[in-house]
């Protein structure tokens, strides 16, 4: 992929380090790249994580709202930063994190729910997937596998598969969501190492898949800026993925999106086009050249852990529906996201979006009181939603 983007990455980054700053400003931090002069006075910045335990009575479960007939309760807590969740064959729920570097394990022992730190000291172990009794952990470019994981909860001895997968080591947007497809392959995204920049399209802006041992690499989707949520349609097996669009292009542009990977290796628009938004800073290709997203999710809403509900306990309209946690905006003056939405197919395949779990956003004060960041269908048909800000998992059930 040949790209020429002017005025984005400063020329300084191409020079030797000694020359770089003497002649031109070096690259700004990745999250600030593409910030226009008129926004130079903005104090918007990514939200600080909370890494301390939030006591159960300080978790805002009472403020949360679900549709009529549903019930939301606090299911587990005391796990700072918890995001993605994966279920072991014997019922252990594993929880990944970013900054705090931990993987948690939650299980019921003699009717008591027990949470523990299963692994720690990892670099952003945000990607978790279970296959054949083994837990796969993606911690930035590292890929680890813990065999027979539920029999090794106290002394895990991971197998390091990092070299086999050979992922790019750039830190920015290097944190992962991972999942096994119905084809038995492990799907791993690789975000762009910047906000908006020129990249090698064979190494970045990708969703790729491998055999579980890290061989037979295949590019599933191109032009994907940063996907940290995807799943496979329960009937068609197709890959549906959410994507985070760039920052510093305004409060209301561009929107984060939901896509279907209809054709393997298809290009979805980065850096030129995001959800129908033709980026004025990037010349070259037009939005019309790319498949449109399945759904526009909204500006800066930050979809994380996009998940198909596979249970039967919820009413008919929710079966096979997507649940998309929106962790919420930072690069927007009025907060957006901070809720879980459902997306289901209506007549003729038209997608219908509805709010499902709300109350994390304090509209009056433009503040948030939680960040939904993962979703998991449980064997009993309930749905777990993680909240990285409160280190908690909520359980949503239907009926009595």
């Amino acid at each position: 992929m040949k790209q020429h983007i002017r005025s984005l990455l400063a020329a300084g980054i191409m020079l030797s380090p000694a020359l770089a700053f003497a002649q031109a400003p070096a690259a700004p931090p990745a999250w600030q790249q593409g910030r226009p002069a008129e926004m130079s006075g903005s104090t918007l910045a990514p939200h600080a994580p909370r890494l301390t335990v939030t006591a159960p009575d300080a978790i805002p479960v009472a403020a949360l709202r679900v549709p009529e007939g549903f019930r939301v309760e606090l299911w587990a807590s005391g796990m700072p930063g918890i995001r993605a969740m994966a279920l072991g064959p014997n019922g252990t729920v594993f929880g990944g994190t970013r900054v705090i570097g931990r993987v948690y394990a939650i299980r019921d022992v003699n009717g008591q729910r027990q949470t523990s730190t299963f692994m720690s000291g990892l670099e952003q172990p945000s990607g978790l997937a279970v296959r054949d009794g083994a837990l796969y952990i993606a911690a930035m470019h590292r890929v680890l596998r813990v065999d027979n994981v539920e029999a090794n909860l106290t002394n895990p001895q991971p197998v390091d598969l990092t070299a086999a997968f050979g992922q790019a080591t750039e830190a920015h947007h290097g944190w992962k969501h991972i999942a096994f497809g119905p084809d038995g392959r492990l799907y791993i995204p690789r975000g762009v190492p910047c906000n908006i920049c020129d990249t090698d399209g064979d190494r970045f802006a990708l969703i790729e898949s491998w055999l579980p041992n890290g061989t037979d690499r295949r590019i599933e989707a191109r032009g994907v800026r940063n996907s940290v949520g995807f799943d496979f349609h329960p009937r068609t097996g197709q890959l549906w993925f959410s994507n985070h669009a760039r920052d510093w292009a305004g409060n209301d542009n561009p929107s984060d999106t939901l896509h279907v990977a209809a054709r393997r290796g298809e290009h979805h628009g980065y850096p030129w086009c995001a959800g129908g938004f033709q980026d004025p800073a990037v010349n070259g290709r037009l939005c019309a050249e790319f498949p449109p997203p399945a759904l526009i999710l909204g500006p800066h809403v930050a979809p994380v852990g996009t998940h198909f509900y596979t249970g039967t306990a919820f009413p008919e309209r929710y079966r096979g529906a997507m649940f998309i946690p929106l962790a919420g905006s930072w690069n927007r003056e009025r907060l957006s996201g901070f809720e879980v939405i459902t997306v289901r197919e209506g007549e003729g395949g038209r997608l219908i979006r509805e709010p499902f779990l709300t109350g994390f956003r304090d509209e009056a004060n433009n503040r948030f009181i939680g960040r939904p960041s993962g979703a998991l269908t449980m064997p009993d048909g309930s749905l777990l939603i993680s909240d990285q800000q409160n280190g908690a998992i909520y359980r949503i059930s239907y009926g009595r």
């Binding site: 999250w31 403020a63 705090i100 304090d362």
Partner: protein
Amino acid sequence: MGAAAVMAAALAFSAQAQDAARGAALAEARNCAQCHGPRGVSDTPIIPSLAGQQAEFTTLQLILFREGIRRVPAMVEPMRGMSDQQIEDLAAWFASLPSERRADRGPANPALMARGAEISAGRNCNACHLPTYAGRANIPRINHQREDFLEHTLAEYRDGARVGTDTNMNGLMNGLTDGDIRALAHFLAHQE
């Protein structure tokens, strides 16, 4: 209970949870003063002052030490077995200590000050650290700090040897020469 009421309750809880007096006792027990100074003002080369540091920043950094994410050998033993509560208490204690201009600060070098000001303006240091460089919440105070510590830690960010709760500082220091960093540290250490 509405969202605002829940939030108010949560804030009230966290305010109550941090106790500077307990933090002072813990600082004594863990001998923080040996390196960081009796009132959080460090007299030890490349060891930071902690007086008046933002409590949220100190809390996050202590957790990164405890979890083995930010690896500094001298901090391993002091952090052993420390609870979240103890960390928040310690952070509250250091935040409560007065931050003042260093008594041993040398005169400002005009050339370094000018170069440092230029770098700070170019990288919008004051957007996050505020124009006073006193910081806010998770963004640290960087005025009143030891100049050698600033120089050391800014170079560590540049060289990928220092992790924070995100990679912003690593990106910001990208491309700076040792001379640039010396000037920036000098400029910051001479802020009031």
